[in-house]
Symmetry: none
Subunit: 218 residues, 2 copies
DNA sequence: TAATAAATAGGTGATATTACCTATCCCTGC
DNA sequence: GCAGGGATAGGTAATATCACCTATTTATTA
């Protein structure tokens, strides 16, 4: 038989980590060569053994898991990284892939999905959920043709200000007051934001805004 | 040997659940008699076999785990419940114990701590972290004077849920849908929250809620 | 047992928000 | 020098939300 694929598992919840380890061991082609609960432990583990693939929880307390991905990729570019996160993929998946990860799975997924993700990443492809795949493709092609990338970066300054205030819990009238504008103007900005980010409905916009502000503030 | 202690494991993250199951199986006196990922599944599992102890994640998506605790205790008062939560004990532990749970552990705790908690609960005592134990004692004896303190702790369970959803950007109608309640009820809870926290106006409540959720999630 | 609190929800009128549209004025790059 | 985007805002009709009230049922507790 070929050499086993080696795994580094990074998660600050010991029991979840144990679950992942058990999952990996369920396939005899795989072997765990390191475990870590913090960024510091991860770096120590890497000195001891460099894995083929690392499963990383990006919601590590204290430090951001994305930083770990960057550090890891900088030191060992050949290591594949699969992010396992309890946070909504809509907000974090793209960021994680940009940071060098090769896949993104949510923690609530079934074991079979995780194994699928692992196999996909090992085979050299990128793994994200089907929904996310569509979304990312959409982003990419609308960026080419209509320059309508559904990304916060495409928002104008004022639109961004409005998004920020919405994310802090301000309503339309309050936003208007704070920004010293007509409610109508704020309304128009909200409309533009929804259009640019391809968000349907005010509720979805509010929830997106809250999450965005949170993620931005780390 | 005596009959094994039977466990029901309720958690909507399959891999974490598997980790818990592995943990339980590591002690030959323990046996898993049921697993569930949702409240509905839990109730089905209970029809099939009543466990000695249930390990319950209170942050189940969709419905609140505290409700499950209450339902479970109502139907089977003899079942011990140990809450395993990813949320800060400071906010939820007291509530969980009041709902009938016999212990509260955070998900990031080590396997040994979880086993300790399980043993404590099985022995008939209540388990909380040492820090929390002190805090609860403190609360108990200093509760005399300022019973009018405008603090989130004074909110009822349902009110807290509503505050949480508002803080995530849900509007009244959406909150009602998520919680499976009438908009009128959600409205009433909002009113109560504003009264208890001495917050004037819906805008101020939204902003407070957003900040509170952020601070709670660190 | 009486009182209190929690969970639930209906009623009502005043206001606010939304979803679309249209329409200025002002820059900036081609 | 004009097309396109950004900043600004008015119009309108359909909903939704808010702020107060009242009310029932069920627990809990003094």
């Amino acid at each position: 038989m070929a050499d086993p694929v080696t795994f580094l598992v990074v998660d600050d919840h010991p029991v979840f980590r144990q679950g992942l380890v058990a999952l990996i061991k369920s396939d005899e082609r795989y072997r765990v060569c390191g475990e870590a609960g913090t960024v510091a432990e991860s770096l120590m583990a890497l000195e001891h053994a460099v894995p083929d693939i690392a499963l990383v929880d990006i919601s590590l307390v204290g430090q951001n898991g994305l930083d770990l991905v960057k550090t890891l990729k900088a030191a060992h570019p050949e290591v594949l990284v699969l992010i396992i996160s309890m946070h909504d993929e809509v907000i974090y998946a793209e960021r994680a892939l940009k940071a060098g990860a090769r896949g993104y799975v949510m923690k609530q997924e079934a074991a079979s999905v995780m194994l699928d993700a692992i196999e996909t990443v090992l085979s050299g492809r990128i793994y994200v959920s089907a929904t996310m795949r569509d979304r990312l493709l959409e982003t990419m092609f609308s960026r080419r043709e209509e320059s309508e990338a559904p990304s916060v970066e495409r928002l104008s300054d004022r639109e961004l200000e409005v998004l920020e205030l919405i994310g802090q819990g301000y309503g339309a009238a309050e936003t208007a007051k704070v920004m010293n504008l007509s409610v109508k103007t704020v309304n128009a900005y909200s409309d533009h934001i929804k259009e640019k980010l391809q968000i349907a409905g005010s509720g979805a916009l509010r929830r997106f805004a809250v999450k965005w502000v949170q993620s931005r503030d780390q």
